[in-house]
Amino acid sequence: MSARVTRILGGLALLALAAGLAAGFGYAPREAVQGNVQRIMYVHVPAVLTAYLAFGLVLVGSVGALATGRLSWDRLAGAAAELGVVFTGITIVSGSIWGKPTWGTWWTWDARLTSTAVLFLVYAGYLLLRAMVDEPERRARIAAVVGVVGAANIPIVHFSVKWWRALHQPSTILGPEPSPIAGPIAAALLVNWVAFTLLFLYLLLRRVELARLEDAWVPETRR
């Protein structure tokens, strides 16, 4: 992917983010129940959606690396995992900040936060593993297996945590999200989600390019 395409994508992402800010603060109304603190949702929800996109790509890259043995797939997996961890971190922090005034506590073991925290740990471990192996081919294989296990784990985490919460909490959970997601709120959410996705793709391209260059760099031979 050429540098020009990447730059254009970056520019688009920037514009979309600006539009998202405008939508989130200007177009979207003050929410009836929670007040303006609900606007954090325009960061929190797009972030978690982007994280899931990232981890989906980790699976794609991992399977590709195992199936073809070509390092380009592994570079995709590694880059996507890094971004996934960043966006998951943003999800958790923004969710926590949102929760403090609405629930009264920085952390609560609700289904989404718990699942997201587990997700964060799984892929942070994945990145740690990648850092411990230097040879690209070996790293690709080993990381790919963990990538596949991690991805298979996501639905398992989702269901187990959901059932666990259903056991210990009445079904009408007073979560931070307003229940019927009305027109302007949904629109602002959509704009921000598109913006996050564009930003993710831009950063992904740059990260993959960096990995490709680093793999191709040959150190000076010792004399």
């Binding site: 303006n36 890094e82 900040i97 960096l210 150190p219």
Partner: protein
Amino acid sequence: MMPDHWGYVFAAYGLSAAALLGYWRHLAHRRRALDARPRTGKAR
């Protein structure tokens, strides 16, 4: 009716922006460091 918590809103947005900006700068920094390394004539 809840009072507005603009502090929390700005904190959330601010930290998220800082994280993304920080990552972008990290990438740029690594790219510069890579470009600055002495190269050999051979490619892999």
